[in-house]
């Protein structure tokens, strides 16, 4: 990232008090860090988006170790659910090894400081699933819809508030909508009770200037009382850069996952994001060194052989604007029906399929096989 132009009324980097949790030795450049004085929250989704990387086969021991490590390192929010949210375990999205509730229950026992979050996609999960999540100990629910369909989250956001949860509206595939229209959708979620609204780059298709424009438009639309967040994917190799751009544009909470574990080329890696936020002068409350240890010693081992990479398929997701979790399903379908993975991804992009339409992957593969 290039630094912002120096702002005269901010203290210089060398005079600044270290932020809470700011324990990495920052060396070099005397330019004013762009996020100096800003509090940036981090939500780690290793145990939700990362579930895609391991085909939803996290063991209870994986969840125990990762949630413990994240909590100890000072991450503010920890998300634990099937990759497609509560109720995601299915033929369409992949059957999970353990139920969402079992994994949430295991994480709950490890988490003492962080907030425990679950994801819910209306149309897949229901308010009944949400209530069970509350019983198992979630503090936060993130209600995700396609970026044009915010009104199907009204029911769920309202009920989540009544259940006493912190609420997040999660506008998936935000690259498909103009900043102004995305702002309108964000205000539907804010009006329905979302405490935070996210710009979600599900396809990893956005460039930093697009992130900035959308974060800016959403911030204006939701007003001061509602936080704005950013969920980045790394399909074009700029996950962390996009998250930082969002923060500079005013986002107050950023998603990441350890080692980037997640759909497609994965998310912005939380430990890299934390290091970059330190360098940018933000206060995150995270011990970057502890997070680096967790990523290196625990998550890399759990994800061995399955860690996201910037391979052809991953880049094509970002290039064609395809929902990141389609990658592994596409890879399996391409192999099974003897068609080209690249052709399937490009055709999915042409058909403008949206998140949740994983059933169309087999359909496209069968079409191409004919």
């Amino acid at each position: 990232m290039t630094s912002a132009s120096p702002t005269p009324d901010l203290e210089s980097a060398s005079e600044r008090e270290p932020a809470p949790g700011f324990d990495s030795p920052v060396v070099g450049g005397a330019d004013t860090p762009p996020l100096a004085g800003r509090r940036i929250s981090v939500c780690d989704t290793t145990l939700r988006d990362g579930s895609h990387s391991v085909a939803h086969r996290f063991t209870t021991s994986d969840v125990e170790r990762i949630s413990h490590g994240l909590d100890t390192a000072g991450v503010e929010v920890i998300e634990v659910t099937h990759g497609d949210g509560l109720g995601g375990s299915s033929f369409t999205y992949g059957f999970a090894l353990h139920s969402d509730l079992d994994l949430i229950t295991v994480a709950r026992r490890q988490i003492h400081n962080a907030k425990l979050a679950a994801l819910l996609l209306p149309g897949i999960g229901t308010i009944t699933d949400l209530r069970h999540g509350v019983d198992a100990g979630i503090d936060v629910v993130r209600i995700a819809t396609h970026c044009t369909e915010a009104d199907i989250a009204i029911q769920h956001l309202g009920e989540a508030k009544r259940l006493g949860l912190e609420t997040v509206g999660f506008l998936m595939m935000s690259h498909m909508l103009s900043p102004e229209d995305l702002g309108l959708q964000a205000s539907i979620m804010a009006d329905a009770g979302a405490d935070t609204v996210y710009v979600v780059d599900s396809a990893g298709a956005m460039l930093p200037h697009q992130v900035v424009a959308r974060v800016d438009a959403v911030s204006r639309a939701v007003g001061d009382g509602v936080r704005v967040g950013m969920h980045a994917h790394n399909n074009l190799g700029i996950g962390v850069a996009n998250a930082l751009a969002a923060a500079e544009a005013g986002a107050q909470i950023l998603d990441g996952s350890c080692r980037g574990l997640g759909a497609g080329a994965g998310n912005a890696a939380t430990e890299v994001l934390s290091a970059a936020l330190d360098r940018a002068g933000a206060a995150t409350g995270i011990s970057t060194l502890e997070l680096l240890d967790l990523a290196e010693n625990t998550v890399a081992a759990i994800g061995a052989g399955k860690l996201p990479v910037l391979d052809r398929g991953s880049v094509l997701l970002g290039y064609a604007g395809v929902y990141s979790s389609f990658l592994l399903h596409t890879r399996r379908a391409a192999e099974r029906y003897h068609v080209s993975e690249a052709e399937v991804l490009l055709e999915l992009g042409r058909r403008r399929v949206v998140g949740g339409q994983e059933d169309m992957i087999i359909d496209v593969a069968l079409d191409l096989a004919r």
């Binding site: 299915s90 033929f91 149309g123 308010i127 199907i152 769920h156 403008r352 359909d363």
Partner: protein, 304 residues
């Protein structure tokens, strides 16, 4: 003698119903009930010479005898039907419920109409249910379906405010019907809205887990037969590709059956992409036509 029908709800589903009732020889469209005097649905019905009211169900119940209404189609929302159902019953009206309220038993005409036709309140499940339950029922006739899962994808423009406010009811009611009418051991339903322009035609995918060693040909034949039956009342209902029957791909070594369906609408109210409207309104009208001979028209009883 045709039986006289009221449609409650002047949105997408109500307006599509009116178009289909007008074509039916055994049904008459007697009244369209809305709550918004400026709705497009009420304006169209008026132009077609059909009585309308924007004063809701109270206005309907006040005119049951005057208009000689025998049967009511509910095209509002789940909570509205839950409130209206006892009032219809009290007024002696047969109710066909197109919301996911599930007050009465589910009816899927190609599967169970004969078994439940005497009930005063029948529920049409959901559009996704009407598209997929017949397939699960067909597979159940030749194999044990331990688990059935469906994905319905609708064009955003074909999902009106009632559908949008009832997403949970949609998935729960559809899942339940996969079990109760489809015969599956467990059911799961997923709904996805796609905003692509031009709008996509309604798609439905059915996945079923059946025991290893099933007779794949019997399953295929049962599915094809059922598709023909549904086409009898929904002409735009078709298989996109031949069903896939893949041993070992289901949970615990079971066989996975995958069926890909497309429902092209008749274009009565919304254009052809809105197969979701057609499949549930066509099912409701087919049900009403089958009930018609057993309903004694109020006009034959009441002296006006």
């Amino acid at each position: 003698m045709a039986i006289r029908c009221a449609v409650v709800g002047s949105g997408n589903i109500g307006s599509d119903l009116i178009a289909k009732i007008r074509r039916s020889e055994s049904l008459d469209a007697a009244l369209l009930v809305g709550i918004d005097p400026d709705s497009d649905g009420l304006a169209r019905a008026k132009r077609a010479g059909i009585a309308t009211t924007s004063d809701g169900v109270d206005a309907l119940l006040a005119q049951v005898d005057d208009l000689g209404i025998d049967l009511v189609f509910e095209a509002t929302s789940a909570s509205t039907h839950a409130a209206n159902a006892p009032r219809y019953r009290e007024a002696g009206l047969t109710a066909l419920d197109l919301t996911p309220a599930a007050v009465g038993p589910y009816v899927v005409p190609s599967v169970n109409l004969d078994a439940i036709r005497t009930e005063p309140n029948l529920n049409l499940v959901t559009c996704g249910g009407q598209a997929t339950v017949p397939i699960v029922a067909a597979i159940s006739r030749v194999a044990t379906v331990d688990y059935a899962e469906i994905v319905s994808t609708l064009a955003s423009r074909a999902a009106g405010p009632g559908t949008r406010a009832n997403i949970d009811e949609f998935t729960e009611t559809t899942s339940d019907a996969l079990v109760r009418v489809g015969g599956a051991g467990r059911g799961k339903a997923i709904i996805v809205l796609n905003p692509a322009k031009p709008p996509i035609i309604m798609r439905n995918t059915v996945f079923a887990a059946v025991p290893a060693g099933v007779d794949a040909d019997a399953i295929r034949e049962a599915i094809h037969t059922m598709v023909d039956t549904v086409q009898g009342y929904v002409p735009g209902y078709e298989l996109v590709s031949d069903p896939l029957i893949e041993p070992g791909l289901g949970p615990d070594g079971s066989t996975k059956v995958s069926v890909f369906l497309r429902v092209t609408g008749a274009g009565d109210y919304l254009p052809a992409y809105a197969g979701n409207l057609d499949i549930i309104t066509a099912a409701a009208v087919a049900t009403a036509e089958r009930l018609a001979p057993s309903i004694t028209p109020r006009t034959a009883l009441v002296r006006r």
